[in-house]
Symmetry: C2
Subunit: 283 residues, 2 copies
Amino acid sequence: MARAARSIAVVAPANRLAPEAAEKVASLARAAFGEGLRLHFHPQCFLSSGHFAGPDEARSAAFLEVANNPAYHAVWFARGGYGACRLDDALFGKLNRAAHVKDYLGYSDMGVILGRLAREGVGRSAHGPMPTDVSRPGGEAAVLRALAWLVDRDATALEPNWRADAPAYAFNLTVLSNLLGTRSEPNFKGAVLMIEDVAEHLYRTDRAMFHVTSSDNVRRCAGLRLGRFSKIPENDPPFEMTVREIVEFWCQRAGIRFLGEADVGHDADNKIVPFPTSIALTS
Amino acid sequence: MARAARSIAVVAPANRLAPEAAEKVASLARAAFGEGLRLHFHPQCFLSSGHFAGPDEARSAAFLEVANNPAYHAVWFARGGYGACRLDDALFGKLNRAAHVKDYLGYSDMGVILGRLAREGVGRSAHGPMPTDVSRPGGEAAVLRALAWLVDRDATALEPNWRADAPAYAFNLTVLSNLLGTRSEPNFKGAVLMIEDVAEHLYRTDRAMFHVTSSDNVRRCAGLRLGRFSKIPENDPPFEMTVREIVEFWCQRAGIRFLGEADVGHDADNKIVPFPTSIALTS
């Protein structure tokens, strides 16, 4: 007997999604999964309000609507940018049973939501590609990887160091730095923490590492892995340290184990890192 | 009887000071204070090592040397930039009695040191102009204001909302965001908190306000005041909120009183905000 179709809703809690990107993703999904996948782009994805995909209220309402709708198996975040932290703080108290047995996938600015859901034990959050990645060179592979995990739990989509029996988190370093001390900060005790970033000066990365590795919570992690740091603007004067040297410096200073590299980043190769969950999810 | 000369040491825990700036400041100081002031630029100010005014070890040693030297009444930080958080963490345990009865003046990246000294009850930290400000348009006034406070405790140098009977802090917002949860985070309970920033995109300011106003410690402050945010790069797309609207939004959301503006910023008008001190200092 054929399995019932998986149903995935796309919303954009930060920046808007280009309609052309949505069309490309829909087309890829049809070709790859046919009737096995129903992909719904919530109209909110295409709203525009200054920096954001619609006003805070519209983004909050769209997320709450799809999270609480039992018709959807997963919420797939359309795009990062900036804005997830502006969602209505009270919506997280309104998430229902349907929201609690759902996947949530995204990265970059979406770390604010993924971290909060993980902290509060809501569903299964995962760090991985988003629909907007279809516009990157080779981005079709990223989108299909995300869908393969959401639809089929394809293990080849997973970050190669991820293990089912060891908790792991992945965050954009700048977003992680900005969520420490907020309600989006999960418990890192015993977990592998992977970091990546894009378009940050090395001095900013160094400063963020000071901040993040000073956290008692982060210091209790099992170790840190370095994802890719891309599109680094020129430092003036030259910083004279690589990202890896920076990260190893701060790990050593903080007594955090440096575990090597991680296959995550703002690029088409970005693999999936499911966060710990306190509940058994339907497969 | 003439008062003994005040003696001030200048060191650079972050970026290097231009020798021409030091010469200008020395010349201004001689003209304004004559024999009443001895200004010593530590040679470390002019070292260069990649981004920094010399290696971490040299910057740490110079700061510890002048802080612990009873011949100096004050340590005046030469310049911000980035690097204060890289100082040897152990040096703060080596500060002696002389360091404990001294003024420390600077701003921007120096907030990391000022916050730590204030937290640990070492001397009197203050947020205010630095020698490098002499290179700004009208910067001579900033330098003379700093010296007037360090030498004469000139009350006209003080930020107009500062009151001797109410604790107050001032920080660069981005630096403050990066020192929360570190050993540089002072106790803000009941204090007026002033913020300023330079060259940050509005989305970054919004995100930093989310982070800072989520802190339980910051939420216990008496209220927040908005200094100047200058040289803001263009936001793409337009952010459609002013800095004041951003700050008021997050204050309201966090239940923090917004108290209005503050006369601090990365400019020649930057006034002095002495931090609370747990000891009586010689005047």
